[in-house]
């Protein structure tokens, strides 16, 4: 029965990772930026919530109302300034710039909030759980995060598929020049795509802050998990990302069930094994940077 519990936990954890991976996948697929500061941005979001919420006991769910909006604006501005400028200088530059920003964000958070761990309070939601039977219980908070992940993925998918702006975003992703000739304001459209990606990063950061404790350096491992989810799921498919997130989540919880120190290692090993076994399906066409 503990194994069933590990599997349930793994799937729920997969929801969190998929939420992280969504913004990463969107930013790369549409804007062409591999954002090495992605995890640190999420952690930054959690710290912004810590700073803005009136007290540590305030329910952090309130932050869901405003933080994604702040981050969407932040994303649009970043895209139109730093990211666009680095894209113009070549694909390697975006990697170096986002990696540099990642180091700057981590150390700025260290300076501002110290290395102590923080957490976001969600009141009674932290402890309440759905008891299926005597051994299996599902935390409402973790279930809620999985549901939010599915909702966010569905909304992004629908937005890209059905709306006029979504069509423009896909057109720019396919062929920016051709889209520009047809009258699409490509810079504005990629800015919107970046603002959506950043908004999902804010949601992911808040979810992570409610899920566990975080420190200024938590972002690096989150970036790795999100990337593994994106690559396992295959690029361009947001639902594949959810599947990839669940594979990583399952590998980690099952690994931790075998030996508590084995969890994260198992996740990485499963990722590398998939890379070895199924390389062809995993190399996306637009990744030849």
């Amino acid at each position: 029965m503990i194994w069933v519990n590990a599997i349930v936990e793994g799937l729920l954890l997969g929801g969190l990772y998929a939420l992280f991976a969504c913004g990463l996948s969107l930013l790369f697929g549409v804007v062409g930026v591999i954002n090495l500061a992605h995890g640190d941005l999420a952690v930054l979001g959690a710290y912004v919530a810590v700073a803005i919420l009136p007290s540590t006991n305030t329910n952090a769910l309130w932050a869901l109302l405003f933080l994604p909006v702040i981050f969407a604006a932040f994303g649009y501005v970043s895209q139109r300034t730093v990211l666009q400028r680095s894209l113009d200088s070549g694909p390697l530059t975006t990697l170096l710039v986002t990696f540099g920003l990642s180091v700057v964000i981590q150390n700025a958070l260290l300076e501002g909030f110290s290395a102590d761990s923080h957490s976001l309070s969600v009141g009674s939601l932290t402890t309440s759980a759905l008891h299926v039977n005597s051994t299996i219980s599902i935390s409402y908070l973790r279930l809620g995060i999985l549901v939010v992940a599915i909702v966010v993925l569905a909304v992004v998918q629908l937005f890209l598929a059905r709306t006029s702006t979504g069509r423009q975003i896909r057109a720019v992703a396919d062929d920016g020049e051709a889209a520009a000739i047809s009258g699409v304001n490509t810079r504005h459209v990629t800015g919107i795509a970046a603002s959506i990606a950043f908004a999902t990063v804010a949601v992911a950061g808040l979810a992570y802050g409610m899920y566990s404790q975080f420190t200024p350096t938590s972002g690096s491992s989150l970036l790795l998990f999100a990337f593994e989810a994106v690559i396992i799921g295959g690029l361009g498919s947001l639902w594949g990302t959810l599947a990839g997130g669940c594979v990583i989540g399952l590998a980690q919880t099952i690994g931790a069930q075998i030996d508590p120190t084995l969890g994260i290692l198992m996740g990485h090993l499963v990722f590398l094994a998939i890379l070895v076994v199924r390389p062809n399906g995993l190399i996306p066409a637009r990744a030849n940077a």
Partner: protein
């Protein structure tokens, strides 16, 4: 640096020759040797505090030069070179635990990194661009997590490097300094020779025009793998030096991603894609590190911001300023001389 002209162009034309060296690079040989002799004599002049700081400088120099070869010439942006720093440090530790002299173990550890890089390259070379970067980082994490599972290697808390107790502290400091200097020189000369060889020519061709290079039969993957293995040797040597100079090996330190940050900042500040750039970058980075060290996290905030601004607004780094005047200390390309009003084009 003093190579003869490799070929003379059509004999009827007025003296048009292809040179691999420049006037500056030929004249720089003598001062370079003088600097080298002075650097080698420093342990007799300076105190131990200064030489051990300089060991850290040489480590930064090795990392910067080899990472630049990887990213600036082969286009392989690795965020996981700390994998080889870790392997190098732990290989020295392992050999020392089995009775080897650490200074003898150092070259063996560096070579071992090249062997370890072969299977790793088979995995990470399946990915391109940013995905390659993340995959190398993941491999470094996996190696760190595997290493801390071995209690004999000190687990997560690290362990002291045996085999150095017999040395007088001053002698040990001098030996460590000379070892670092030798590894740094080997790294510099090795990078220079590798980039001047067919491998370097192939990579320059790929960097300038991928499709054209492939169509004339340049074997791109082989050249990239050669550079990746060479960079692994460099990082491994740096890792071994870290183990010896700190007399302690700890997984969180040697496998830490901060090393990648240092390498990237050094290359961005100095200038990517030239051999001189990372040398200049290492000097600037080391100076910033020494002056800002007392300000805690501010040091990486400031250095990181400078590097990001350089990447955005001054692509060719500080060396790009010198390069504007055609100054080359380590020319790896071919240049035509004697051709009037034709600006020398360098690789």
């Amino acid at each position: 640096m003093t190579s003869a002209p490799v070929a003379a162009a059509a004999p009827s034309r007025p003296t048009r020759r292809i040179r691999r060296s420049t006037r500056v690079s030929r004249w720089a040989v003598l001062p370079a040797l003088v600097v080298l002799v002075i650097l080698a004599l420093l342990p007799y002049i300076l105190g131990q505090g200064s030489t051990s700081a300089l060991v850290n400088f040489y480590i930064l120099l090795i990392l910067g030069v080899t990472w630049n070869m990887l990213a600036g010439y082969a286009g392989l942006v690795s965020v996981g070179q700390q994998a080889y720093i870790g392997i190098g440090a732990y290989a020295v530790l392992f050999l020392a635990q089995h009775g080897w002299e650490p200074f003898v173990a150092l070259p063996v550890a560096a070579i071992f990194c090249a062997i370890a890089a072969i299977p790793i390259s088979l995995i990470v070379f399946r990915l391109r661009g940013g995905y390659f970067a993340i995959a190398t980082w993941t491999v470094a994490q996996v190696l760190a997590l595997l290493t801390v599972r071995d209690a004999a290697l000190g687990g997560g808390t690290g362990t002291n490097l045996p085999g150095l107790d017999g040395f007088d502290p001053t002698v040990l400091g001098a030996y460590t300094y000379w070892a670092a200097l030798v590894v740094a020189i080997i790294a510099l000369v090795g990078c220079y020779l590798l980039l001047r060889s067919r491998v370097g020519l192939a990579l320059t061709a790929v960097r300038d025009d991928d499709v054209a290079a492939r169509s004339v039969g340049v074997r791109v993957p082989r050249a990239k793998r050669a550079v990746y293995l060479a960079a692994a040797v460099g990082a491994g040597g740096a890792g071994g030096l870290i183990a010896i100079s700190q007399i302690n090996v700890q997984a969180g330190n040697v496998y830490g991603v901060q090393w990648s940050a240092y390498m990237i900042f050094i290359v961005l500040i100095g200038g990517i894609g030239t051999l001189e750039g990372p040398i200049l970058g290492a000097i600037v980075f080391f100076t910033l590190q020494q002056t800002l060290a007392s300000h805690g996290a501010w040091y990486l905030i400031i250095v990181g911001s400078i590097a990001v601004l350089m990447a955005l607004f001054m692509q060719r780094g500080l060396w790009g300023l010198a390069d504007r005047f055609g100054v080359r200390l380590f020319p790896v390309g071919y240049r035509v001389s004697g051709a009037p009003s034709t600006p020398a084009k360098d690789g």
